[in-house]
Every structure is written in C-alpha cells, then in structure tokens.
C-alpha cells in the first residue's frame, strides 16, 4: 500500500495483563471506536508507529507525483493535460493533509522530509517503476489509485482522528483519479490496434507491481496484529489484495484486454479469483532501493527541496521584515 511494511514499534500484540492501567484505558477507547485526538494520552509505540505509517503515506503521495508529472508536457490533448495537472496537484494536497496529520503527533514536516532524503523513511514501492507510454498514466490512475482507494476507504475508520479525517478528504478526491485513469484505458483499448497494444503493455507492466502495493502476504507480515489491535490498520494485506483482484478482473475483461496472469480464474467455491502472487523477491529488492527508478525519484525530491531552499528562506525573511516594520509603525 502507500504505507508498506510499516514496522510497529513492537512485535506481537501486547497482552492485556502486561498493560499499565493507562494502556488498558487507551485500548478500551480504541475498542469502543472512539477517536484518539492529538492531545490525548497514547502509548509511545502507537505514536511512533503512526508517525512512520502516516509519514510513509505522505511521502508516497509526493513521490507519486513524479511518474505522472513526467507526462504533463506530453499529454495528448489540452483536456487530458488539464486533467493530469489537476490530478498531480491533488497528490500534492494529499501529501500536505498527511504531513499535517503526522505533525499533530509531535514531528515536524521538515524532519520527515529530511528522513526521506536520508533514506531512513520509505515511500510506496510502486513509484519506482517508470512511465514509458501515455497508457501508463491510464494504468496508474486505474490500478495504482484503485489499489490505494481499497486501503484508504478502510483507513477512514482508523483510530487516530487527524489521520481518519485526512483519509475522508483523500477518498473523496481519489475517486476522480481512478475514473480518469480508466477513461484513458477505455480510449486506448477501444482505439487503434497500436493504442490497444499500448494499453495491454501498460497493464502487463503494472499488474504485479500493483498487487505488491498491499505489502507482503499476511503470514510474513509480523506487524499486522498490533496495528490491527490499535486500529491503525483495518484490513490485512491479503484481504485487500483479494478484494482488488476481484474488482479489477471484470474491468480488464470490459476493456477487452488480457490479464498478464495466465492462471487467474474464478474459484466457484470461494467466489473469489485465484491468482498468482507477485514475485516477492522483486518487491523486497525495490524496497531496498534496487527498483528501476529509486535513485531518480529520490534525486528529484532532494533537488526540488534544495533548489527551493532560497525561495523558502527568502519568503520567511520577507515575512519577518514586514512583521517588524508593522510592529515598529504601531
């Protein structure tokens, strides 16, 4: 997902009899679906895990602008360009909502950005794949934003108030992203044979990386249990992945495209699609920094941050000078 493999600050769920009275009262509030707010008492591990998760999610939104931003100047029509600009601008907004939510936990946005640039915080593996053709922009909206929505819809019910509220806003906007992506795919899939081939190629390349977005299989996901007890994770990786596959296969069929997984088929007994899991060694390699675009993505972020420093400093100096002049005149 946009936050993958977020390490909880502890492994395994803390048993109730090991909890302090304060921790038990906290868990009771979470169990009763009460929202935890910034000034409320919370266990240190809950705070640390949330900072990691929300921070990673925020970084993903911001880094996620890069693969699509690549196509803004080359969008096929003025309308598509306006739509793509609006979408990429939304991603910046989503990053901002999430950084703001993280900041309520006592970390500053600049600190989080610094950690990203030092390679100490991650962003979603999906953004380390290149966007080679215009059809990739369609595939990202449809599959990547589609996978993100699957997770984010659940996170609207997460226990931490500011995170849940950010998710509500994000989900409202994200639906446009997925639909504009599918709209591009329809145009291509129903177009010339060349366009259709381009759409198929984009699907082929983004299918497995999209499945990886949900994170490793539940059996290897040691942090899930505690995060679920805290309700900062509301569904497991495998549940969400299955839901995504079930939703997406009919959409592939509608486009007249072929799923790149030759073994995908509806299991009559379960009512779900059986599918081939992605190559997890590729997932771990990408997370470690060895994906096709990791270095470019991070370099682009660091350059943007460093090249913008004089603007940030100049604007702050101007604001302070103006405030001092106003104070002197009073």
């Amino acid at each position: 997902m946009y936050a993958q493999m977020v390490k909880t600050a502890r492994v395994g769920v803390k048993p109730r009899d090991e909890m302090t009275e304060q921790e038990r009262a906290f868990q009771d509030r979470v169990d009763a679906n009460e929202k935890i707010e910034p000034k409320d008492w919370m266990p240190d591990d809950y705070r640390r895990t949330l900072i990691r998760q929300i921070g990673q999610h925020a970084h993903s939104e911001v880094v996620g602008q890069l693969p699509e931003g690549n196509w803004i100047t080359r969008a096929p029509t003025l309308e598509r360009k306006a739509i793509l600009l609006a979408k990429v601008q939304d991603e910046a907004g989503h990053g901002l909502y999430l950084y703001s939510a993280a900041e309520t936990l006592g970390v500053s946005r600049d600190e989080l950005i610094e950690l990203l640039h030092q390679g100490k915080m991650k962003y979603s593996s999906i953004f380390n794949y290149p966007t080679l053709t215009w059809a990739d922009v369609g595939a990202i909206g449809w599959l990547v934003d589609g996978a993100a929505i699957m997770n984010q819809v659940h996170l609207q019910r997460t226990s931490y108030g500011p995170y849940a509220r950010a998710m509500v806003r994000i989900c409202k906007e994200e639906s446009f992203h997925q639909r504009q992506g599918y709209d591009i795919m329809m145009k291509m899939a129903f177009g010339t044979p060349e366009q259709k081939a381009m759409a198929q190629d984009a699907l082929n390349r983004f299918w497995y990386p999209s499945l990886m977005m949900f994170g490793p299989p539940d059996q290897d996901s040691v942090h899930t249990a505690q995060s679920m007890a805290w309700k900062i994770k509301v569904a497991t990786n495998d549940e969400l992945r299955q839901k995504f596959v079930d939703q997406t296969v009919p959409q592939i069929e509608y486009l007249g495209l072929t799923c790149p997984d030759p073994d995908i088929r509806l299991n009559e007994e379960t009512g779900h699609f059986d599918f081939t899991p992605p190559d997890w060694s590729e997932f771990f390699a990408v997370l470690k920094g060895n994906g096709p675009c990791n270095k470019d993505r991070l370099k682009a972020r660091i350059t943007a941050w460093e090249d913008g420093a004089w603007v940030r400093e100049g604007m702050l100096a101007h604001a302070r000078k103006k405030a001092a002049a106003t104070a002197a005149a009073e």
Binding site: A86, S108, D110, R165, R312, M315
Partner: protein
C-alpha cells in the same frame, strides 16, 4: 531561529449562512501566503465561499484532562433541555 514556516489552521465557510469550519492546516511564511495556499489546497472543488487562517500558535485549546471538570457539570442539568418539561397536548404547539 527556525527556518521552518509556521503552521496555520484553516477554516472554511462552506456556503453562505453556515459557520466557518476547521478543515486542516498548512505551512506559510505569513498570513497572506497562508490564505493563498489555503485557497489552493482546500477549495479546489468549490468547497467554500470564505477562508479564515489563524496561526496555530495563537490557538488556546482545552486540555483532555480537563474534560471532566469542564463538561461533566452540564450532564446533570437536564432541565436545560426542552424535553425535560411535560406539556400536555391540549396546551397546543409549543
């Protein structure tokens, strides 16, 4: 001195006739930029007709530990609600 832009809280009036409501926060060097950024971030889809921005440091908030002393006293004052009073139907609409 920190080079990080201060934090501002953003309040939007959704429609004429409604109060401003807190929608989120952002960083900006001054009030003017905060207002402009708020417009870009929080009203991209016709969400508002008016914006307030307040530097977060200027907000005084009640503490969660004061929840009891602040809000419990009103729980026992049921007579402040109209439903406390039993008025017979014969008395007409009230």
């Amino acid at each position: 001195m920190s080079s990080e832009w201060p934090l501002w809280e953003v309040f939007i009036r959704g429609q004429y006739g409604l109060s401003h409501r807190h929608v989120g926060s952002l960083h900006a060097p001054d009030a003017e930029c905060a207002l402009r950024n708020a417009r870009d971030v929080y009203t991209r889809r016709n969400e508002g007709v008016s914006i307030w921005v307040v530097e977060a440091a200027h907000i005084t908030a009640s503490s969660p530990s004061d929840k009891g002393p602040l809000f419990e006293p009103s729980e026992s004052k049921v007579y402040r609600h109209p439903s406390f009073y039993d008025i017979p139907d014969d008395a007409g609409a009230m």
